[in-house]
């Protein structure tokens, strides 16, 4: 826990968790509707 209380490490870990979580939310919730979230990037 003490390492996580280091602000730099805390920001990096938080960013990884939050960005990963929201990317999953975007991808899977679009997928569940039969839509492709990465449509633009596949063109």
């Amino acid at each position: 826990m003490s390492a996580l209380n280091n602000p730099v490490i805390a920001v990096i870990v938080s960013l990884i968790l939050a960005v990963g979580y929201f990317a999953m939310v975007d991808h899977y919730l679009m997928d569940m509707q039969g839509l492709d979230f990465w449509y633009l990037f596949r063109q």
Partner: protein, 638 residues
Amino acid sequence: MGLVTRKSLFAIMGLCAMVGLLLLPIVMALPSLAIGEEAPAANAEKKEGDKVEKGRDVYYKTEGIVMGAPAPKTVDGPRDYPRYNFESRVLLWFANQQHLYYGSFVLAVPIFCMIIEFMGVVTKDKALAKRYDQLAYDFIKISLTAYSLTAVLGGILIFTFLTLYPAFFGYLSGIFRPVMHIYALMFVAESGTLYIYYYGWDKMKEGFLKWIHLSMSVVLNIIGTLLMFLANSWIGFMMSPAGVDEQGRFLGNIWHVIHTALWNPLNLHRILGNMAFGGGVVAAYAAYKFLASKTDEDRAHYDWMGYIAMALGVAFLIPLPFAGYWLMREVYAYRQQMGITLMGGLLAWLFIIQATMIGILFLSTNYYLWQAMGRMRGAEKYQRYIKYLVFLLACGYMVFITPHTMVMTPAELKAMGGQQHPVLGNYGVMSAKNGGINVIITTTVLSFVWYMRGNKVSTVSWAKFGNIFMGVFFACAYFNIIGLAVYGYYIPANVRVGLSVPQVATTLSCLFFMFALNGVMMKGAKQMGPIEWGKISARSQYALIMLATAFTWMMGLMGYIRSSVRLFWHVNEIMRDNSPWAYTHTVGFAANMISFNVLFFWVSILFVFWLGSLAAKKAPVEAKAGVPGAVPQPAASH
């Protein structure tokens, strides 16, 4: 049960007998429903050999034996549309709206009572438990007088229907005949349960009897909710009929008539709306009492009451736009043209007004919370960041209320280069609006989180990481919501339409995860000072009144929109409205009518509050006593 005395046992038995008697009419009504359903089979046997006419359900596409008369083809005249020297539709609009306002209020308040009474029963702090109990009692007391008025207004509504729209009402009551009496009997059961619940409060205040009393509030709310669902089935049938053939003849399956395409979305939308409305009205009542209070104790009590009512109301307000989206989605799925009329055609400007009102609701809530932070020592640290929240809210609000196109003169049209503004016009599409409203709601969640931790400092060992994670999570949520809104401009409409789901999920993630994380972090937190109830600016109380008024206005508006979307149909595509008033009013007329309804409701409910104050029950001394500023202590329960 060993603790239950003989006297208590008799009381419980008496109570059970009373509740059983109250519920008996409903049980007795059920066989008649069954008979109604068996009737076609019986008739079929009786008329064996005779030709049995069958029809096809307009929505479910199933075949059924025709059991009712076709929808009447009305003509404009005294037979189908008797009238006074006034527009009948406006009279009906007024009667309907007032009944709905009061109905919503008296259905919502018992749910609040149930929640607050439960909080009082389970809390270990005895002083706080008494305060919760007193608050729940205050809530039900307010609704009791309103309850009689709801019944009176219901009677007026029925007479208005019978007098001014006899053909239509005859048809509708014919279709819903199997459940009409159940509705009436459930109303009797609801009234009886409410009176026992209210008048039995003192007699059932301790021990096992208190749990019985609490259970009665559950029964009360189940009956109330079922009543609302039944009433919703009528408007659901008028908008998206089912269970009848194309001539409007009943096909024998009452469940099909009730369970129409829009019934469930309407049920969810209305229950959330009622709760938010009820919270707003009680908060406004508390605000009024706060402003009129002469003592610090009263101010502390009504400040707390206003906060609890507002918090409960907003808890249901936050998911309301999502329920609205579901309803609209189902409307589009049922009839695309109906959806276009609502959001892209004749009624689209009313949705801009609706967006304005939704924005006002959230702005008022945030303003109240920022003002409320003033009564906490330690919350000053957040004050300097509020301007950033104002910026986010203002941006979200401006995008949310931007219309797609403007009504203009030819000269204005030429000057702007088209109906759509070259820059601002881009914000008038759903992609931007979804982003706008989600930013507003996420900011409201953030304001709540700040409020809940205002006077506390977390003592958990990972507090620093928790705070940083919370900040990063909110920042990423904003980035995701706005990013998805921008992304929507670059992809085709059939893909874009799905982006609203992850946007909503992002907002709800903030709501649930951040509330939960904050709760864990603040468990056993160090308090910088007590919440000084009563020491809040008068402006905050006006924000509560604003919240309630805006909600009342929005309810009137949305009711009008929902009803107007049928255009010239009494029952969509089944029974045509041939009265002279089968046209859509101008936006100005509708706005004036809604304002009149809002004004009438608030004047009448002030009268109800005044009546209630005449018979005010003196609060238990211990419940109101205490040092102002130190009590009550709901902060610990945040």
